[in-house]
Amino acid sequence: MQILVNGEQHTTDAGSLEELCKRLGFADAKVATAVNGCFVAATARARTQLTEADEIEIVAPRQGG
């Protein structure tokens, strides 16, 4: 299926958000996630199913003012 990951087109057959994060190399990374504009807690990623055209945000700590 085609989804958007951080604004870019991405093809995946990952069933869950957790699986997607793992495949992108974020398994042990300090990241937070949102799907279609809604926050998804780390503990909820495994039960969060992905569907066609989902918009995923994966964010990490960064410098800020």
């Binding site: 604004g7 990374a29 504009g37 780390a42 990490a60 700590p61 960064r62 410098q63 800020g64 003012g65």
Partner: protein, 262 residues
């Protein structure tokens, strides 16, 4: 001491972590500033570069309290989701709430700000809203549960100092017991001293230090200005007057003649 949401701090400067030429310069500037609270953000993480992971290591190493922001959010919804992600990522209920109206002024979009503040306060966040100097907005934020208010001095990164000092003084007078922090627009230590002399509780800045020719020395300069301004406020500043009054005693002035007195 400065008290924000039940936590006390001896430093009255909150420092941003963005725009330094190197991580080492950031570390040294934070050290020199004495800031106990540093602001951070969250941004999209690239699977390849994983930039955020290294930055998180630096933040942990600095050992300061972290205040995540929602910089760049344009709607209440975006800000709320960003705050929720920040809470999990940084392990803190504190959020520097920003809802931005437009790119030219980066001014707060106050309607979305109040909406997001109400929802986040209800959800257990401790919200520090980046707002304008407008009193009616400040009242709405306070009613929405914000126990700290952060009006801007002037547009973010502009280094212009206080664009509307009178309104900031009005806010101070109207909210005598609410911690008030001027956030954004300060350029020189004198601006920070001015804020503190007005009885504001703290300043939040970033660009003025990060983009100075020598950020570490500038951090030291701001720290002293903040302290000096605060001490002046606590000491009670003499009211300005129009005409001179001699500071040296008049009595016993040599060559004094009563005819000269007028």
């Amino acid at each position: 001491m400065l008290e924000l949401y039940g936590t006390k701090f001896s430093s009255r400067m909150l420092l941003g972590t963005a725009g330094y030429a190197s991580p080492d310069l950031l570390r040294q500037a934070v050290e020199a500033s004495g800031a106990e609270i540093v602001t951070v953000s969250l941004r999209r993480e690239s699977a390849r570069a994983k930039t955020g992971q290294g930055f998180w290591g630096l933040i942990e190493e600095m050992g300061r309290r972290v205040l995540p922001n929602t910089a760049g959010c344009r709607t209440a919804k975006e800000a709320i989701t960003t705050a929720q992600m920040a809470r999990e990522l940084f392990g803190t209920n504190w959020i520097k709430l920003e809802v931005i109206a437009n790119d030219d002024t980066l001014q707060p979009e106050v309607f979305g700000l109040v909406e997001a503040a109400a929802e986040l306060n209800a959800d257990g966040f401790d919200v520090l809203p980046y707002t304008t100097e407008d009193l009616s907005v400040a009242e709405r934020l306070a009613a929405a549960g914000c126990d700290v208010l952060m009006p801007w001095g002037s547009p973010i990164g502009s280094a212009r100092g206080l664009a509307n000092k009178t309104a900031l003084q009005t806010l101070r007078a109207y909210f005598p017991d609410t911690p008030l922090i001027v956030d954004a627009g300060l350029g020189a230590p004198s601006h920070a001293a001015e804020v503190m002399e007005m009885g504001y509780d703290a300043v939040l800045l970033n660009t003025a230090i990060a983009k100075a020719d020598n950020p570490v020395t500038m951090a030291r300069g701001f720290a002293r200005a903040v302290e000096g301004g605060r001490l002046a406020y606590e000491a009670g500043i003499v009211e300005p007057r129009d005409m001179a009054t001699p500071s040296t005693p008049v009595v016993g002035t040599p060559f004094f003649k009563i005819d000269n007195a007028s």
